[in-house]
Symmetry: C2
Subunit: 347 residues, 2 copies
DNA sequence: CGATCATCTGCAATCGTTTGCATTCAGGTC
DNA sequence: GACCTGAATGCAAACGATTGCAGATGATCG
């Protein structure tokens, strides 16, 4: 049943102008609070506009002003194309970003993409839909980011700084955080610690570095070993860990590159009839909301996403204003819960 | 350090036109794939445009076409103004919505607001920033929604249908779901079941109805009782449950109006030295991701958010196309885990 | 060869604002 | 009364695309 009626066209500025018996210019100035229009007349116009339910058309205004008061937030989905946006890390980060951005009166335009991006980022930038682009996680797209950053300044990326990189990143101290977690495992007497994650992704690579550093610094250096679940999804992680358990490789601890896969690892270990932390200790990275509620509660490295989001948005607005804003690395703290056993406080 | 340089202005259509030695009209038509421009010329223009990195300016195009290919998703925060967007329910729903919307090539404009909305919704509608508005949860804003829906059709709300309501809602069968959960508790032998939530919110009200119905239908009718945590936040729920435990009211089960407050209730009960489900059984509503991982795992009523999101978006696009789309209520299923004890299958 | 037609192309108006510049008008000064 | 000043207003040109209409071009046919 078609029903085109009932769509009442919103009032435009010219309507208000007619109503007030002035020109659109004057209405525009009155609305903007310009001192050029007499106080009495301004108030009259404002009243009329309010009564008419007039709201300026954002699209027209944006076109004229060449800005949008909108920030794009891009989430590259490392998962399958059809996979919904469920990764708790992204989703928590998104929440904090939305907060910080809307606080400044800007809108948030959500963009989900599945790598390889191809020319997607350049297109987004050129489309003029937003005044700036925030990318959550550099994924495998370092080259594209670098290329676009060369001419487009309002680009801020959550992730790891790499050598000779020119785009602005905000991220956690991945190597320091990982070192803390692995040192914690060593202190608890674990000898065969597996790194669980794909070090070819920039952030994970740094966590792997921290892992190696902790092993080397141990009073008696330990052997390193890592396994690579295909993607950072719960399913692939479960499968990879199950396979590891079936193999003849022996280990008494797992340092997982993210909480999501840490929790999957715990489930796989439990499903295989072993106990966490008694048989195998598991530590994660991120401290997503789930971590505190998993069973056993996950010992993990905390990334302060609220702080991170604020840092990102701060830099974004600096760059929009035309100033430079350098990359920054935020501290990472170990949060000790139950999944590694022996609750001792980390200094 | 100011740094205005480096912002290269994106190519506009006129540039491409000059490059190709034709008029902007022709470029526009070529890009749109109009049969009016000769095939050979079209391909030539497309090639030139690609080389020049040209992307049509969305703002200008939107102004001309009077549409935005963008949907606003509004999240009314019942919480404090400063509270970040953390509620897992919203966030999961948002993910699915973003999926369904981007799949249709539209953008998602995220809007967080804190009630009372005042004229916020009319303003959003009149601002022309989006072609439609999705509101997640009617919160306390029934009147505003009704008013706006009277003249603005592309408005779809996640929530409960109320009598004489004219706006389009998509929601779960709240009363049926609640009945199932409470019947489950009764079947397990619980006698004093507390309803935990604020029935003055439309959706919660229906869950309360379902709760009452189950009590009345019991072979020996049970006494009803509900408590109202100020808001649906984890903190207030924890406080409210702690207070209830300190009071002289005795109870052996809790039916919580959402998983979030159910989990807080469990924590409060555990903190008070009682055991779930042994001393007190707890059932929730929503089946957020956390529910499966809480300790003990939460028995809850599942809302299929993916299905819900798809239903919302479907209706949205129907309404944008000028057709009517009626409200719908989706089925709710009980998911039995550990927080109520006695794992028996629900029919 | 001129008329007719199909096919392609460009002109110019339009979407709803903002703003530089010109204009108007009131009031004051000599 | 002519002149100037300053404040308040309106005109018209942008912003960058789309599209109805008219015009140009070349082919076809009588």
């Amino acid at each position: 049943m078609k029903n085109k009626g009932g769509h009442r066209a919103p009032a435009k500025m010219a309507d208000v102008a007619t109503l007030a018996g002035v020109s659109p210019s004057t209405v525009s100035r009155a609305l903007a609070g310009s001192p050029l229009v007499a106080k009495k007349k301004r108030e009259e116009i404002l009243k009329l506009a309010r009564e008419a339910g007039y709201v300026v058309n954002t699209t027209a205004r944006n076109l004229r002003l060449k800005r949008t008061e909108t920030i794009s937030v891009v989430i590259p989905l490392a998962h399958e194309a059809s996979q919904p946006l469920t990764d708790p890390f992204f989703v928590e980060m998104l929440g904090y970003l939305a907060d910080a951005i809307t606080q400044r009166g800007f809108g948030v335009l959500l963009q989900k993409i599945v790598p390889p991006m191809g020319d997607w980022l350049p297109r987004l930038v050129a489309s003029g839909r937003s005044d700036g682009v925030i990318v959550i996680g550099q994924s495998t797209e370092h080259a594209v980011l670098e290329e676009v950053a060369a001419y487009y300044r309002p680009l801020v990326v959550w992730g790891a700084p790499t050598v000779g990189q020119n785009y602005c990143t905000v991220g956690t101290d991945n190597v320091g955080g990982a070192t803390k977690a692995v040192e914690h495992l060593i202190r608890l007497g674990r000898k065969q610690i597996v790194f669980f994650g794909d070090p070819s992704l920039p952030e994970i690579g740094l966590r792997y570095e921290g892992y190696l550093a902790a092993l080397e610094n141990a009073s008696r250096p330990l052997e390193a070993r890592h396994i690579v679940p295909a993607h950072l999804t719960a399913e692939t992680a479960f499968a990879a860990m199950s396979e590891l358990l079936r193999s003849d490789i022996s280990f008494d601890a797992v340092f997982a590159a993210s909480d999501l896969i840490a929790i999957s690892a715990i489930q796989a270990i439990t499903a295989a009839g072993k106990s966490v932390p008694h048989d195998i200790a598991v530590a994660g990275f991120d401290d997503i909301a789930l971590a505190a509620h998993s069973n056993p509660a996950l010992t993990t490295v905390r990334q302060d996403l609220e702080l991170g989001a604020r840092a990102i948005v701060e830099r974004m607005f600096q760059r929009i204003a035309g100033y430079d804003a350098a990359s920054v690395t935020l501290p990472a703290d170990l949060v000790i819960r139950d999944s590694c056993g022996g609750r001792t406080r980390d200094p």
